[in-house]
């Protein structure tokens, strides 16, 4: 779009002659990521912008405005609240409560032992079973988890990474034993191991064997589970660890490109697997920056998939993502304020075109949500969907000088990061050298410094404080869950054919030492009632383990 010299002159003149005369208040006019924000955005800021090249139409390359033509006028985003605590019985109850209250998809939170590949009776699981999520040890647990939930009608997301292949095996076997073939299953398993080494820090194996498992899952699901997303390439956790929006965008996409490259190296055709790749972003509190981030993400992904990875199928170019509002933005102080934060963050996700959304509960700075708190969080999405008009038109902020300029600027920052990571030898090499980890730690420290200096206000925390407030009634982990879960595990082991279990484990170990796809072996172990911890331990004998060399 050619900006006429007259318009450019007018904007500059206004800034120099009119705006310069008005004093600014004492505040940080930067996004939460430290990106400077100008007083006004005009056509001048879009001097090099081309609406056909940079904006396009919804459902058309480069998909800035959205992956689908009708977006929410065709179908609302999936309301998918992350849930899980205690044993599978309690979580099954919470799943059915959420579905009864209008949630449209399920999302599973596992406990720390499950996430780290440890059984509930492992010494290091002490005090952690069922605390941060639901405890899952065997396929029997998976069956109870989805009791009375039709897996051929409800899509299920499972947030698990290092042992994802095992948990997927449990899911497939549980569904099969309930008469549902893998090809009928729709949903997502997170699987994104690179962001674990970068940010979430849940690992079982060293990087290369872990990447082999990811590619095994992509390959196997491409053949057997056409409705399933074998990976959810995530920025949420990177952001929670303290990254800027640009880092979240850049590291997530670079992780994604790395998975694409590994699948291509495996011999898979890009159009065979790329359509089932999905993404997961944070919705942080700096409203416009988040919207710009999502739009830039779609545009970058489409461009790179087409130009660099030669994807020909349109579906390979579509970035579809789930969004979660920023846990790290929630305050323990005056927790009802968190309802406001979550609502604004959720709206950013919607205006950014998310396919699926989780809204945090107001009490989550301190605990897992109570049923009442999570109901408010779900209602927040329903109010946005049905009362605000935000879902009436596609990409409402498209064409905004501010939003388009920010979209361009954050995209440019992402490409700078891509170049730096390439210089280091790619994402795996960058992680081994601690690059993304250091960037995140530096950004986290810079933000904290701003907050401590009161340059950045966090309401209720460093300003507008209220003394002597008690916590709201919080969810408390049930200590009996650990005992009950150990009993469940014992019963499964007692009932299984021990010889068969051993045979399948030996076969898994042998296969791990070679390069065959491990999914069939894991499924055989799952059927034989081998536990997650047993499978992980067997694979660790072959793969080894991982220890981080921390930098602060």
């Amino acid at each position: 779009m050619a900006i006429e010299p007259e318009a450019r002159r007018r904007a500059h003149q206004w800034l120099d002659e009119v705006y310069a005369k008005t004093p600014e208040r004492e505040a940080l006019f930067e996004t939460i990521s430290g990106h400077p924000v100008r007083p006004l955005y005009t056509e001048d800021d879009l001097a090099d912008w081309d609406s056909e090249r940079d904006l396009g139409l919804p459902g058309s390359y480069p998909y800035t405005r959205g992956p689908y033509p009708s977006m929410y006028r065709g179908r609302l985003w999936t309301m998918r609240q992350f849930a899980g605590f205690g044993t599978v019985e309690e979580t099954n109850e919470r799943f059915r409560y959420l579905l009864d209250h209008g949630q449209t998809g399920l999302s599973t939170a596992f406990d720390m032992p499950t996430l780290m590949g440890l059984d509930s009776d492992h010494g290091r699981s002490d005090g952690e079973v069922g605390v941060e999520g639901v405890a899952l040890d065997t396929v029997d647990d998976m069956e109870t988890l989805f009791d009375r939930i039709p897996l051929d009608q409800v899509t299920v997301s499972m947030t698990i990474n290092a042992p994802a292949a095992i948990v997927l095996a449990f899911y497939v076997v549980a569904a099969e034993e309930n008469g549902i073939a893998p090809a009928k299953l729709g949903g997502t398993i997170q699987t994104d191991i690179l962001k674990e080494y970068i940010a979430q820090k849940e690992w079982c194996f060293p990087i290369e064997p872990a990447m082999r498992l990811v590619t095994d899952m992509v390959e196997w699901c491409t053949a057997e589970m056409p409705r399933w997303h074998p990976i959810s390439i995530s920025g949420y956790h990177i952001r929670e660890a303290g990254s800027t929006a640009a880092q979240e965008l850049a590291f997530t996409l670079k992780d994604g490109f790395t998975y694409v490259e590994r699948a291509l190296e495996r011999g898979l055709a890009v159009d065979s697997f790329a359509p089932r790749l999905s993404f997961f972003f944070n919705a942080h509190i700096d409203f416009f920056e988040e919207i710009a981030k999502y739009r830039a993400a779609r545009r970058i992904w489409a461009r790179e998939m087409r130009e660099r990875y030669n994807a020909a199928d349109e579906r390979s170019l579509l970035m579809r993502f789930h969004t979660q509002t920023a846990g790290v933005s929630l305050t323990a102080q005056q927790p009802l304020n968190n309802i406001v934060r979550t609502a604004i963050e959720a709206l950013a996700g919607v205006l950014g075109g998310t396919q699926s959304l989780h809204t945090n509960s107001f009490d989550e700075a301190l605990a897992l949500p109570t049923a009442d708190a999570v109901r408010v969080a779900l209602r927040t999405q329903q109010v946005i969907a049905h009362e605000t008009g935000a879902a009436n038109t596609v990409d409402p902020l498209g064409g905004s000088y501010f939003v388009e300029a920010l979209t361009d600027e954050i995209e440019a920052k992402a490409y700078e990061y891509f170049a730096r990571i390439d210089e280091l030898g790619g994402m795996v090499a960058a992680i081994e050298q601690g690059f993304p980890q250091r960037e995140i730690a530096d950004a986290a420290f810079a933000y904290q410094t701003e907050v401590d200096a009161k340059q950045r206000i966090v309401v209720g925390v460093n300003d507008y404080v209220a003394e002597g407030e008690a916590d709201p009634a919080l969810h408390r982990p049930d200590p009996s869950a650990e005992i009950r879960q150990r009993e469940r595990l014992e019963r499964t082991r007692a009932a299984r054919d021990e010889a068969a279990a051993t045979t399948t484990l030996e076969a898994l170990k042998a296969a791990a030492g070679g390069d065959e796809n491990l999914m069939p072996r894991l499924i055989a172990c799952a059927r034989a009632r081998v536990s997650e911890g047993e499978m992980v331990a067997a694979m660790q004998e072959v793969f080894g383990t991982y220890t981080e060399h921390p930098q602060f």
Binding site: L115, E202, V458, E548
Partner: protein, 140 residues
């Protein structure tokens, strides 16, 4: 002022007990304490209580900060405190930070935890607390 009364560098172990992988806060505190002139040993993730106490002893630490955001604090903190006592270093200052509901704070303090820093605690308050507590422990 004699050499004995010159201030010795405070030595702090910042530790992540249990399976919890949330290390954002622990790393910020570690850096802030180091910037404040203290000698900081960051244990990294997934430490057992035994490993933490071994580090505290090995490093001759004045204080240990336990960072727990997994909800497992009422299992892990008592274990660390008990092991410190067992090893004869119960005078080490123990602080706890993380996702700690207010209701748990009194019980942690009864165990001997000197202070609990919940979400939103200002960094300099943490630094000053440790500086003050260390001075009381080994007065100049």
């Amino acid at each position: 002022m004699s050499e004995e009364t010159a201030t010795r560098t405070i030595r702090v172990v910042v530790a992540k007990p249990g399976l919890d992988g949330h290390d954002r806060g622990a790393k910020i505190i570690a850096r802030a304490l180091r910037d404040a002139g203290m000698e900081v040993i960051y244990t990294g993730l997934h430490q057992t209580p035994e490993q933490i106490v071994a580090t505290v002893i090995q490093e001759d630490a004045d204080a240990v900060g336990l960072s727990i955001l997994s909800g497992a604090h009422m299992t892990l903190v008592p274990k660390v405190v008990a092991l410190l006592a067992e090893q004869g270093v119960e005078d080490v200052i123990v602080t706890v930070g993380g996702t700690i509901p207010a209701d748990d704070v009194p019980e942690l303090k009864k165990l001997g935890v000197a202070e609990v820093f919940t979400p939103g605690a200002p960094t300099d308050a943490i630094v000053e607390f440790i500086r003050g507590a260390a001075a009381e422990r080994s007065p100049a």
